[in-house]
């Protein structure tokens, strides 16, 4: 596996990290001219459309289970998690406890992502870290890890661009789903398969050694087993955690 770049020691800024001075003095405007920001926009064009398609599906499903249009849109504005939101509408009829358990189970996978992202971006102002966390989803995380491995200079600008694309795609898709309702069926277009391919594409550059291949095999096997014995909310988290433990046990 291509190793994740280690973040700088506490209080030390690496060349790839936005300087504190720029962060505090008008960096927001300069960010749009940053090559890393523009690269982030380019890299997320495909994801924008894929996420928008899923947003449409979410909007349609949320209306179908009785969520009012404004709450459907509000949930996409404030949660920004396809997995959590699909789980929420899927379990809405079962009551709040299953929904909250599912959200927690799905959220567990964010913990290592959060730690990895903190290591990648290094020292940053609190406001920047809080903002980066808001759209810390599988897609933007995967792209940011990929960008780090590819040597992208400013990961904060890169992820900000990816976040903006994903957030706008998700909200726009939800809006379209709410607007057109059940007249649209994104699943019939194979959107689920395209999303699977997207994650296959994100994983591919990370496979570089024997341990990585074992993790891949363990993850696929654990996921297939998990789909047979676990509720949907826990399948991905349990399978990924199991495969990671297998990878640790195997060693380098």
């Amino acid at each position: 596996m291509t190793r994740l770049p280690s973040g700088p020691p506490a209080g030390v800024l690496s060349p790839g990290v936005i300087s504190q001075d720029r962060a505090h003095h008008g960096y927001g405007r300069a960010m749009f001219d940053d090559p890393s920001f523009r690269r982030g926009l380019r890299d997320t064009i495909l994801i924008f459309f894929a996420v928008a398609a899923f947003g449409v599906a979410y909007g349609v499903l949320a209306l179908d289970v009785g969520l009012p249009p404004w709450l459907t849109l509000f949930s996409s504005v404030i949660i920004v998690s396809g997995a959590a939101q699909f789980a929420m509408v899927g379990l809405l009829a079962a009551g709040p406890v299953p929904v909250l358990v599912a959200a927690t189970g799905l959220g567990l996978r964010h913990l290592p992502m959060s730690a990895t992202l903190a290591r990648l971006v290094g020292a940053q102002p609190l406001a920047t870290r809080l903002r980066l966390a808001f759209v810390l989803v599988d897609e933007t995380f995967g792209l940011t890890v990929r960008a780090a491995n590819a040597g992208v200079e400013n990961l904060v600008a890169y992820k900000t661009a990816a976040d903006l694309m994903l957030y706008s795609g998700w909200f726009l898709g939800t809006g379209i789903g709410v607007w057109f309702g059940t007249a649209i069926n994104p699943e019939s277009a194979g959107v689920g398969v395209l999303f699977g391919l997207l994650f296959l594409g994100l994983a591919a550059p990370m496979v570089n050694g024997r341990r990585d291949w074992i993790v891949v095999g363990a993850s696929v096997a654990a996921t297939l087993i998990a789909t047979l014995i676990l509720p949907p909310a826990w399948q991905v988290t349990v399978a990924a955690t199991t495969a990671s433990l297998v990878g640790i046990a195997v060693g380098e």
Partner: protein, 103 residues
């Protein structure tokens, strides 16, 4: 609990898990947890890919999604693991197989 409260609770849980290590970045762990973090993204992405490609109805099934996975792997080999190559060859294989055999 009404729907609005539930949405706010889900949002809070989701955000707290996302910000957990970013809010205090100097406490990012090393050791065993650090090694776990090294392999977890790959395991996670493969798990999500497997769900999307091999279990379209929630359980393992032989569908055009498996052909898409094979196409994606071929695309990865042909285009040096390029994301676009994997998506393009995988999607083309999926739509071709679905047109031929249905599903």
């Amino acid at each position: 609990m009404n729907d609005l409260t539930l949405i706010l609770a889900v949002a809070a849980i989701t955000y707290l898990t996302r910000v957990a290590f970013l809010i205090r970045p100097r406490q990012v762990p090393g050791g065993a947890l650090g090694r776990f973090l090294d392999v977890f993204p790959l395991a996670l992405f493969m798990a999500i890919a497997t769900v999307g490609l091999a279990t379209p109805e929630g359980t393992p099934a032989v569908t055009p999604g498996l052909a898409a996975a094979l196409g994606g792997v071929i695309g990865g080999v042909l285009f040096r693991r390029s994301l676009v190559g994997i998506l393009a060859v995988g999607a083309a294989t999926f739509y071709l197989v679905r047109a031929l055999v249905g599903g």
